[in-house]
Amino acid sequence: MSENIENIYWKLFKSMFVISMSTFGGGFVIITLMQKKFCDELGWIEKEEILDLTALAQSAPGSLAVNASILFGYQLKGIKGSLVAMLATILPPLLIISTISIFYSLFSQNQIVRIALKVMRSGVAAVILDAALTLMKGVIKSKDMFNIMVMVFAFIFSYFIQVDAIMLICLGLLLAFAIEIIKYRNTRIKHGII
C-alpha cells in the first residue's frame, strides 16, 4: 500500500518534470500536455476538471504552469501532491537557467539554437490546436447552443479584441451567475413561491 502511494508521488513528479521541461511557448502548452498525460494516458483526472483547473489557475497571480500544477497536485493527493507537482514544475527551469546563465553568450549567439527554437513553435502550435480541436468537438457535440455561443464569442474576444484572460473569466463568471439566479427565480415562480 505505502509503496503504491510512493509510486504515485514518483510518477507525478516524473511526469510533471518532463512536461515542464517541454513547455516551450507559454502556459497553455502545459495544460495540453497535462491533459494528454493525466487524462488520456493515466486517467487520473477528467477532461472537464482540467478545464476547471485552467480557469482557476488563470484567476490567481503567478504563471499558468505553476498554478495548474499546484491545483492538479492538490486534486490528486492534497497538499503533499501539490508540493510534489509544483517542485517538479519549477525544477527544470531552475536547473536550465542556472546552467545557461553561466554559458550565456555561448548559448544565445548559437545560430542552431535560434533556428531550433523558432521552428519548434510550429510543433507547439500543432500540439495546442490539436487539444483545442478535441475540446471544441466536445462542446459542439453537446448541442448546447448557449455553450457554443459562449465559445465563439469568447474566441472573438480573446483572439481578435485581445481581452485579458482574467477579465474574460470574470465576465464568464458573472454571466453564469446571472443565468443561475434567473433559473432559480423561474423555478420559484413556477412553484408559486414568489
Partner: protein, 191 residues
C-alpha cells in the same frame, strides 16, 4: 539579510504578476532594474532572450537568472521559491475550495458554463503561436501572406496530422519539430 531581501522582492513580483507570461515583464524590470539595480538594462534584455529560448514560466526564469547573477545557486533557489510562494498559498486555497464545493449543484453549473470559455482561450493561444510560427509576426493584423515560412508550414501540417490521426506523444512532436526543422533549415542553407 540579502537572501531575505531577494526572497521578498520575488515574492512581490510573484504576487502581482497576474495574467502570466509577458504581462509580468514590465513589473520584473521595474523591480530588478530600476528599484534594486540588480541587473543593467542590457543584462535584462539578455534575460528576456534566454527566457524566450528556454522552457518554463518567465517569472521563474527571471528569478533564477537574477539569483545566479547576484551570487550563485543558493540565491537562485531563494529567488525562485520567493516567486512561486504567493501562487502556492493562493492557489492552495483555491484548490481546497474547488475540491470542497465542486459537487454543489450551483458550482457545478457555473463551472459548466465557464468551460467553453477556457476552450476558446486555448484555441486563441494556439492561433497566436501559429501566426508567430508561420509569419514571424506577433499580431494577425500585420501578417503578409507572402511572408509565409514554408518549412514551418509543412512541419505544422505534418505535426497536426500525426497528433490527430496517430495520437503521437505531444512531447515527441515538440522536440521532433525542433530537430527536423533545424535539419531542414541547415539542408536548405547548404543548397
Amino acid at each position: 539579510m540579502e537572501l531575505f531581501k531577494l526572497f521578498l522582492c520575488f515574492f512581490e513580483i510573484g504576487l502581482f504578476s497576474f495574467g502570466g507570461g509577458y504581462a509580468a515583464v514590465p513589473l520584473i524590470q521595474a523591480m530588478v532594474v530600476e528599484r534594486y539595480h540588480w541587473l543593467s538594462v542590457s543584462e535584462f534584455i539578455n534575460l528576456i532572450t534566454i527566457a524566450e529560448m528556454t522552457p518554463g514560466p518567465i517569472v521563474i526564469n527571471a528569478a533564477t537568472f537574477v539569483g545566479m547573477k547576484i551570487d550563485g545557486f543558493t540565491e537562485a533557489i531563494f529567488t525562485t521559491l520567493g516567486s512561486v510562494m504567493p501562487s502556492f498559498i493562493i492557489v492552495l486555497i483555491l484548490s481546497w475550495l474547488y475540491k470542497k464545493y465542486k459537487g454543489l449543484s450551483i458550482v457545478k453549473s457555473i463551472l459548466k458554463r465557464i468551460r467553453p470559455l477556457v476552450v476558446a482561450m486555448i484555441l486563441s493561444a494556439g492561433f497566436s503561436i501559429l501566426v508567430m510560427a508561420l509569419f514571424k509576426a506577433n499580431d494577425y493584423r500585420i501578417i503578409n501572406i507572402d511572408d509565409i515560412q514554408v518549412i514551418e508550414l509543412i512541419i505544422f501540417i505534418i505535426s497536426l496530422g500525426l497528433l490527430r490521426k496517430y495520437k503521437v506523444n505531444p512531447i515527441m512532436i515538440i522536440f521532433g519539430s525542433g530537430l527536423i526543422g533545424t535539419l531542414s533549415y541547415l539542408l536548405f542553407a547548404m543548397i
